[in-house]
Amino acid sequence: MTLSKKDILEMGSLSVEEIQVILKTAETLKEISTRPIKKVPTLRGKTIIHFFYEPSTRTRTSFEIAAKRLSADTVSISASTSSIVKGETLVDTAKNLEAMNPDAIVVRHRAAGAPHLLARLVEASVINAGDGMHAHPTQGLLDMMTVREKKGRIAGLRIAIMGDIAHSRVARSNIVGFTKMGAKVILAGPPTMIPMGVEALGANVTYHVEEAIKDADVIMVLRIQKERQQAFLFPSEREYAQCYGLTRERMAGAKEDVLIMHPGPINRGVEIAPEVAEGPYSVILEQVANGVAIRMALLYLLLGGPR
């Protein structure tokens, strides 16, 4: 199995069949991470550049581990240690990286569309590891994998996404991805955090989190960033927690078998109460484990076969 595309830039450009192939491959490859010797030779001789313009713990580590378990050679660049601090443009950086003939470039960038710009300039496969508020397709895929693992399906489920939808690339990828796979997505949060026209992506919107929680099979909670207070999106963390946070009290209105997800990093006590994040329905750490499998699957599918 391979994917007949060069890049993974956004959920919108993956077909249902392609998503199924990726999920299936990830489910197969997941087992490698449980072996005593966690390495297969599949991508021996392939070079992968991890190009992180923005800070990241989970995604970056996850990609690096995925590449190493498939025996690829990896190099890491971060904004602070690269020529970006000398004022090199993304276009020039891309051309220089390309000259070293890598097989894939994994990019995390603060600007929406930066991976698209990169992909136009290089022969290597570009994998978007998060671009601004735009997309985070590997997160979307690992979320789907986690839901499918726990619920046995995606179609027909109700997925509630709570929090700052407007500034979230995870929300965008999940709205597009889950809707595409036949789930119903409900967004909940203060109106200031619901982006204009988001219904066009296929989601429903409510300003009352209880309503979103009530029939949800999955509740995804997004991180609330303190800086958003300065843009008048919400008055205080205290008020946010009280009116929109996923508290133990609100959980009482949820389905018995609901799954709680969070892309991390968590702001304990703001968008999610600590006891909920660590509660029995939380699959937050399973998400992280599946992240490695999804990224192994993508690397394998993009680089493993003849191009």
Partner: protein
């Protein structure tokens, strides 16, 4: 005596209400007569320009252009901007003051006018800054600027956020009979937005600029115009709401005029899909609803003028991440063909279009010679309405290439531009 006879063209001049096939005789740079000239008047050695099958109009005026000189000569100079204008069919352009240094004093105005004299192509009418350094803190010396030759005042590129300063600018400018051109934007609302707020921005994950970011400022400036009874010209109108407010203000008899740019009646926010920085402009490309409102506003006279907001940028400013790229689209060499599309679509007739591209800007700017009248300088444009061509940015005379229209197939363009009797552009 030097004579040129423009023969057999379809002359359209809303100023003199001429609309028919006729001849124009030009003598020593001035219009001598309209209509078949008396045999004894034309010398046998008069140069004859065959304009049959062509449209002849008074010289087109683009009242909103960024020439970038002084300061950013790598993007455009007075010389290259004037050449681009001539190639686009324009005989006169107004250049905005956001140069480096800013055109907020006589020296900079003098410099621009000197460069224009050297370029010796089209007429250049500089626009001076409303506020010193475009900082929105204090008024520029309007009297000095007027004496140096500016035709209007604007902080274009920046809004005048301080309402009191804007009020005083409108009021003080009245004393010099100077027009104030408003760049209507509330910076608190537009904040860090990089494209129109709405479905496309949500999809692309880009910060949005709401319609209201423009509309609230249009409302404020109309209120100030009413307060001080001074003429107000609103630049680059892009929203449905702005059109509505201007229509209402005109109905109440306020001295408000307005312009829009070809990209606002041609494109929508969807041009930004795929993160095309050549479609990044301020105000941003809006929705189909706004585009329709702009077309209606042009049709019913709410919008008086089409000006290109020619804003040259090079790959240094455009070949970047979308949110880092500069705002701006060049327009001098695409404006007329895009405007002719409006005639094709039935939004307006040719006379209406010529009014918006020549007579109205001339009137709004208080230019002394308007229309093809005997005695006026022979500024005119000859258009081939049937000429089919493909826009190729690489052939532009402008130094910059930032256009979202590259590759578009259009019909109709300028084939000859004449300024004071001199042919400054002729299609090969």
């Amino acid at each position: 005596m030097r004579q040129t006879l423009i023969k057999g063209g379809h002359v359209i001049d809303p100023e003199t209400s001429v609309d028919g096939v006729t001849d124009i005789l030009v003598e020593d740079g001035k219009i001598a007569s309209i209509g078949k000239p008396k045999a004894k008047r034309t010398k046998t050695k008069a140069e004859v320009i065959d304009a049959s099958g062509r449209i002849v109009t008074p010289g087109l005026i683009d009242m909103h252009v960024h020439l970038r000189e002084p300061g950013h000569e790598y993007k455009e100079t007075v010389e290259t901007g004037c050449l681009a204008a001539a190639h686009g069919g324009f005989t006169a352009i107004c250049c905005m003051p956001n140069t480096d240094p800013v055109n907020d004093n006589q020296s900079v105005t003098d410099y621009i006018l000197k460069k224009a004299r050297i370029a010796d192509t089209v007429r250049v009418y500089p626009v001076g800054a409303i506020s010193r350094g475009l900082r929105g803190e204090s008024l520029s010396d309007f009297g000095e600027l007027k004496a140096a030759g500016v035709v209007a005042l604007s902080d274009d590129g920046n809004p005048v956020m301080n309402a009191q300063l804007m009020r005083r600018a409108l009021e003080y400018a009245k004393g010099f009979n100077l027009l104030v051109i408003a760049h209507c934007e509330d910076r608190n609302l537009t904040a860090n937005g990089v494209m129109n707020e709405g479905v496309t921005a949500t999809q692309l994950g880009l910060l949005g600029v709401p319609n209201a970011g423009e509309t609230v400022m249009v409302a404020r400036d109309i209120a100030l115009c009413e307060l001080v009874k001074a003429p107000l010209h609103i630049a680059h109108v892009s929203t449905d709401g702005s059109v509505r407010l201007i229509r209402e203000a005109k109905a109440r008899g306020l001295p408000v005029t307005a312009e829009t740019a070809p990209h606002y009646f041609s494109l929508t926010e969807e041009a930004v899909l795929n993160y095309d920085t050549n479609a990044k402009v301020h105000p941003p490309l809006r929705t189909a609803k706004d585009r329709e409102a702009i077309r209606l506003g042009l049709a019913d006279g709410t919008i008086d003028v089409i000006a290109s907001d020619h804003a040259p940028h090079t790959s240094i400013e455009k070949d970047l991440e979308f949110d880092q790229a500069a705002n701006g689209i060049i327009g001098l060499e695409t404006s007329l063909p895009l405007c002719l599309q409006l005639v094709e679509m039935g939004v307006m007739d040719l006379t209406g279009l010529v009014a918006k591209m020549s007579m109205n800007p001339a009137r709004i700017l208080n230019i002394a010679h308007i229309g093809l009248k005997p005695g006026n300088p022979a500024d005119l444009t000859i258009i081939d309405p049937e000429k089919k061509f493909t826009i190729d940015a690489n052939t532009f005379r402008s130094k910059s290439r930032n256009t979202p229209f590259n590759g578009c197939e259009l019909k109709g363009k300028a084939v000859l531009t004449m300024v004071a009797g001199n042919v400054v552009f002729r299609e090969a």
